[in-house]
Symmetry: D2
């Protein structure tokens, strides 16, 4: 069967969810941030992903966030909504609501709580049931660093047979596996690199783009890697890729979402606080972050 017609090529920032000082969603600054990001050549946005603290949001907040984003995002940029829940039924329900709110595609994290039972069979059935029920194209979100689940290549290939399963965000960081997924799933299944640390190498082995936390704070740098690669300027792309790794690490594994938000604050976006149990940066962490941003040319 042919795939749903949607192109995932390009760079997508997985945007954070702004909260005010009382911890409530700050919808106005969300729109403000998007207005600034819209000035770059980004292909779209991932909303309600890991960087969006989605697991800390109620379903009502999620829907309102999507509605806010839809209004703030031009029609020629994709709004990809994180809609994964632990159960198949809750995932279907939330995906339908995201579609109603205007999402162009759903990015669905592997269920993981009963990790020992999240076999390839269970995961393939989950994604097929969802792809059957979803009014919008579905993407798999494979992120073992958060979930402990690393969906196998043959399971990904089986899942990819469904026409409404259009791609995946692979954040595992195993480039061999990413390349093998491109091979096994075949054309039509669009793989996105899930971290700026392996964006260039992902593109080299067949990824069509990336969902990159780095693109929140240094959108042009992320786009430069993409366009340098597309132009065949590999050496310059590699140089930039290497230079961005410490910056990217700081706002992902290193200092986490609190680091990403602090960096946004430093750059004139609205970052704001994280929701507990996450902790905001200490003063010392903030200084470390600032030094890394300066060193990497992001500030």
């Amino acid at each position: 069967m042919t795939k749903a017609a949607i192109s995932l090529a390009g760079v997508f920032p997985p945007i954070p969810t702004p909260f005010d000082e009382r911890g409530e969603v700050h919808y106005a600054t969300l729109a403000d941030n998007l207005a600034r990001w819209n000035e770059y050549g980004l292909a779209g946005y991932v909303v309600l992903g890991s960087n969006g603290e989605a697991v800390y949001l109620t379903d009502e907040e999620k829907v309102r966030i999507l509605e806010t984003c839809r209004r703030a995002i031009p029609a020629d940029k994709l709004l990809i909504a994180g809609t994964g829940a632990q159960s198949t039924r809750a995932t279907i329900d939330l995906t339908r609501r995201a579609a109603e709110a205007g999402a162009d595609a759903a990015l669905v994290v592997t269920p993981h709580y009963y990790i020992g039972k999240m076999t390839s069979e269970a995961l393939v059935r989950h994604y097929h049931a969802l792809a059957d029920a979803s009014p919008i194209p579905v993407m798999i979100y494979n992120v073992p660093g958060f979930t402990g689940v690393d969906m196998a290549v043959d399971a990904l290939a089986r899942a990819a047979e469904h026409p409404n399963l259009v791609g995946m965000k692979d954040t595992a960081g195993n480039i061999t596996k990413l390349a093998d997924t491109v091979r096994a799933a075949g054309p039509g299944f669009q793989v996105l690199a899930g971290s700026a640390g392996f964006f260039l190498t992902g593109l080299v082995v067949g990824a069509v783009g990336g969902v990159l936390a780095l693109a929140n704070i240094a959108p042009q740098r992320a786009l430069d890697i993409y366009y340098l690669f597309r132009a065949g300027n590999l050496e310059e792309a590699a140089e930039l890729q290497r230079r961005m790794i410490p910056v990217n690490t700081a706002v992902t594994a290193g200092l986490g979402i609190a680091g990403l938000k602090a960096a946004l604050d430093m750059l004139g976006y609205y970052g704001g606080p994280v929701r507990p149990p996450l902790l905001d940066l200490t003063g010392a962490q903030r200084e470390t972050l600032r030094a890394i941003l300066v060193e990497g040319g992001a500030l």
Copy 2:
């Protein structure tokens, strides 16, 4: 400060949530199951825990399940409600609703999605904020097999300083750490063994009881281990402990909740199906399970 006065001594089954063939919660059979379990000398029940497929339930279902249980459980047995969510605010909210529904205590799984940031500092603040806000005593639920988070002994001891933090269920299976937690947290902080596999050894080093999946399908065997230990009959207790391990493994790590429910079906309780993405047992798995139950004297 003195602890809230609640005794967690004894055996608690973490009960599964019955679903009908369409996947809806089957409240009537839930009450029926409890009526049968009530005939044993169990100290109470854990409802909405991992075995209750809590991550697959809506908040509305959770409240109605608690209300159903409260009506079905005599006042002299504890109703312990699983109320953990990823965010502190959602956990507080659900814990308050559980208290309103009649829960005697809350069992709160460590938040875990942003595992790298769930530091001791973050976890202690989370539990203290919850213990401050909760109208009922709070227990920590440490289950690295599902969450990847294994709360450190000194963090547990710090959390335990709060008067409304009365104990924990430790499912890590690290008996050295369990013993060290008893030592470090001191009297008043009541530790429950989180699996029948190390129930007896947990009691030996200071646990006051256990939350045991085994107690769903073989409540008297679980109670026998407890009372043999209390009576000083260690050799007989050890013999029974060893004999129960394969049975317990079958309905936990081995065949999971689907195995636990299938065993209940075989024993005349209502087990029923699991919610997807969990998969029900295959016929072959069912036969394996039956053989293990027979071999262990549970069927």
Copy 3:
């Protein structure tokens, strides 16, 4: 078939190998240390184990160490020699040389370099080939913390069918598995707890003794746990067990062999330096260690 007649009951320290300041084996102080330990009711010694830095010794040093120990150890105490190598042929060779040097039994770590291929089948064949060839009884040494290999219960039970395979040292710290091994391997296969942290609980579920780093620095405390258990004085045994955990942790996972040797120095034994790449304690670590030993009553 009946097992080789050897009793592994009791407490065994896994002794460190003394080096002089140039890093050469210090045979004289080895004998001196043993003379002091011989005054306690220890059942014997494990020589050339993990705590003996066996992986840092040449075969020639190993043989001379065993000869030195044999002269220093009374005939009524066992000399158990670590003889495991990565290949079956090297393990057989070293085990024969250990037997010639007077070892009463061999303690053989699971081979582990090609960890993904160390299947149950490979491990069982390895131990059976060794047990066939060895002139002395063979014990399995399961220590996933160092090797990454955790031999499965059914593989242990299959290995245990060999009459010359008399027991194991289990350092995994999974008390459920230890109990299940006792059950599955049956009487005649003698299980030793591999760390003082779970010594008492190991005895409760059927271990006959322990190989305990703690017994190097606090032999009487280790023996007290054993005899309190044997005398049925479980409460006092548990109290002592809990008290010894921080002390034991300091000289094992906490500060490692350098910590164990520093503690011996503080107690009037010869500890001395470790071989590189291991590092000796810093001054600050030494003070931490001293405080823990004092707190635990070991100094």
Copy 4:
């Protein structure tokens, strides 16, 4: 300081050690295999690495193997010898003997038995002590899949400051880290991709070549990836890279050294048996392997 002048650019097979049916080293077929490989444009050979079953060889066998290889390898190809042992002193000793036997460089696996103590400080001191003492250039071999140790980027960069520490083989498979190592260690420190699965992507981010098990059985394919990349033909290189992944996996993580040897047998080289506890392939595994080789165009 300037680095020792040695170029590690190009493709190196980590050759297996042939054994006869009694398990003895088969020196004649070792030379025969090399004579065939010499016909390809390989930059040299890694001898006594993980694929050489080095942990199963005596020091005497190792020296004789190196001498045999030195005679069989033309002077314009490098002979890189695996010389890592657990202790610093044994590593220095073996490295000196390898130099005497004609090795051009030493590839030294991270020590790992006391994994918790193999801190960056311990590892840097180990490599610096070795680099001081070694008559030939030293390379770090980072292979967490076998050792559990994954040397940190800053430790690698510190080690790389030594003029006699010329490069590393990185088999971790974390392409972000490999790229960051190139950045942090700077020019002069030559990084080799340690597996064909990420050879092309390694080259893209700055590796100068690869040590590839695949190069034993498909040397031309491995060289093609290298030269396609050098020629800027990235698309064709990526296509070949993806196609080789299943073949490479079969002779590495999939079927291991026994698989590699069986493939050599199928291709007319001498493969022969592995040393126990490794197991030779079963008939079924052999058929699986053959199918993968045919599918990948390697047979």
